[in-house]
């Protein structure tokens, strides 16, 4: 079953673009990365999935249920972590966590206790006294304590220190291993490459590409670095040229034998050929779309 499926999902805020014709498909049990720069439409897509806003066109389904028609059923299967969690001022972190459980009509005290312990969250503090990172932790407990089937995480680790980020991802991986689906929006490509199995790239409201992370990262493009030369080999399909002292580095997407033939004519001291990381691939999609 698909955990998330959208068809031609479109949202305009008046005349300004939110997202246009977004088709997404997330398998149940997947750990799915949703990548895009700020303002690309990640949060709009998420808000549509949660029924906070109404689509201008198209439809969104979660576990086969239409979000617009079955919002309550959908939300009872979802744990949502907003990018900037806001809570009721004056309330203690613990009260927020139990309010969230009681809105779900569930007793999650034991699960909440374990989560707070692992995240080192002091629940006796009032929310306005909490730092950004600690507020995030309250959001994480609210999103996870009821053990949902689908986690929708918007910029999940912003504000968390590296140790907490690691703990957070180990929690997410555990839940994923137990069968839960994770939909993780991020502009941190490294994070997506490290933790996700599939990913989609969104830019200016449209999905550019959606595939497994492995396939996304493998585009046939190579990063070529030549040491001890200032002479560029004459080749087609070269992008992102970087020169640094006596070194040249570029992305090459053409025929590999052609590359070897041209390199043979070029004087250099040393050479490395590597697969670019997802960030470079992402930039590559950007450029291709831009051109």
């Amino acid at each position: 079953m698909k955990a998330i499926r959208t068809e031609g999902l479109t949202k305009y805020y008046g005349k300004s673009r939110g997202i246009v014709g977004v088709d997404l498909s997330v398998e149940e049990g997947d750990l799915f990365g949703f990548i895009g720069p700020n303002g690309a439409g990640k949060s709009t897509t998420i808000r549509l999935l949660l029924g906070l806003i109404k689509a201008t066109d198209g439809r969104a389904e979660v576990f086969g249920k239409d979000v617009a028609g079955s919002r309550i059923e959908v939300l009872s299967e979802v744990g949502y972590l907003p990018s900037e969690a806001s809570f009721y001022n004056g309330m203690r972190a613990g009260d927020i966590i139990s309010l969230s459980a009681s809105l779900r009509k569930k007793d999650c005290r034991e699960e909440a206790r374990v989560l707070c312990e692992r995240l080192e969250l002091d629940i006796s503090k009032r929310v306005e006294e909490l730092s950004l990172g600690n507020r995030k932790k309250v959001g994480i407990v609210c999103a996870m304590q009821h053990r949902p089937r689908l986690y929708i995480l918007d910029e999940a680790t912003s504000g968390l220190d590296p140790l907490m980020q690691r703990e957070f991802y180990s929690l997410i991986r555990e839940r994923n291993a137990e069968g839960a689906t994770v939909f993780l929006s991020s502009h941190n490509l490294d994070e997506v490459q490290r933790y996700c199995r599939s990913a989609a790239v969104i830019r200016e409201g449209r999905i550019l590409v959606s595939d497994s992370v492995e396939k996304l990262a493998y585009t046939g493009v190579k990063r070529v670095t030549l040491k001890g030369t200032a002479q560029m080999p004459s080749l087609d399909g070269i992008k992102d040229i970087k020169t640094d002292g006596g070194n040249i580095s570029f992305l090459y997407s053409g025929d590999k034998r052609e590359l070897i033939a041209r390199l043979a004519e070029t004087p250099f001291e040393d050479i490395t050929l590597t697969d670019p990381d997802l960030e470079e691939v992402f930039m590559h999609y950007y450029e291709r779309e831009g051109n």
Binding site: R47, L50, I53, R71, L99, L103, R104
Partner: protein, 261 residues
């Protein structure tokens, strides 16, 4: 029930402060009555004889020298206006404040329908207004007993019932406005309360705009009118009920379709 209890808890401090403040002010009004009434006997005719000013505040209809007459005017000004402000602040902040503080996102990403959110929030508004009125009524009763004045229980209850209904109507109207706006709107809420208050004064002043008293909830929550007739104006009340019905419908209609930013 969760949202209702949550709202009651969040409004607790404000409710206590408003209840104490209004109770205190009415208690003061009651306590100074014996002192004033001795001097008031002569003044009463003068108060009733100040033309438009007397009419504006309904002082031509009751005997200012009589305790109930005095109480209805003081009560009208203190509890009427104070209560209207309290109700307006409650109503206008019920929904818009959640969006402004971005807590609406927290609330509405839980499996609760928006209609339920509205219903429980409305119920909490009415409950808070009831507690405020009951506190002020109890305090007033105690102080009326202390100064040893006689006041017909039925009329006093009717007076407080009218203020309760007036506050509920203002809360419902501002609640409806709250469903349409995205920011705080406190100014709008207080403006509505003050506006209704002055509409009633205007309607008392000239017969040409007497119809205004049917629009404003102060039309039926007019203490001097109630004391003079020993009843609440049924037509005003009916119009008020219809306005409440329309405001509720609009609030549900808008909020269940609203994009939450």
């Amino acid at each position: 029930m969760t949202i209702f209890l949550h709202e009651m808890k969040r409004g607790r401090l404000s409710l206590i402060i408003w209840s104490l403040a209004l109770s205190f002010m009415l208690a003061v009004c009651i306590v100074i009555y014996p002192e004033m009434s001795s001097q008031m006997a002569d003044l009463s005719d003068m108060f009733a004889d100040m033309g438009s000013f007397s009419e504006a505040f309904g002082m031509d209809q009751v005997n200012f020298g009589d305790f109930l007459g005095y109480f209805s005017i003081e009560c009208g000004n203190t509890l009427g206006l104070g209560g209207a402000f309290f109700a307006a602040i409650l109503g206008i902040s019920a929904l818009a404040k959640e969006e402004k503080d971005r807590t609406a996102e927290f609330l509405l990403t839980h499996p609760v329908s928006r209609a339920r959110v509205l219903t429980e929030k409305l119920a909490a508004l009415v409950a808070q207004i009831f507690i405020l009125i009951a506190t002020v009524l109890a305090t007033s009763a105690v102080f009326i007993l202390i100064i040893g004045e006689e006041a017909p229980v039925g009329t006093v209850l009717l007076l407080f019932l009218s203020y309760f209904l007036m506050m509920v109507e203002i809360a419902v109207i501002t609640f409806c406005i709250s469903a349409f706006i995205k920011r705080g709107g406190l100014g709008i809420g207080l403006g509505v309360a003050v506006g209704f208050y002055f509409l009633n004064i205007l309607s008392n002043l000239t017969d040409e705009v007497e119809f205004l008293r049917y629009i404003t909830p102060f039309g039926y929550a007019d203490g001097t009118d109630i004391v003079a007739n020993d009843s609440i104006d049924g037509v005003c009340l009916l119009v008020g009920a219809i306005i409440c019905g329309i405001a509720c419908f609009l609030a549900y209609f808008r909020y269940t379709k609203k994009d939450i930013s």
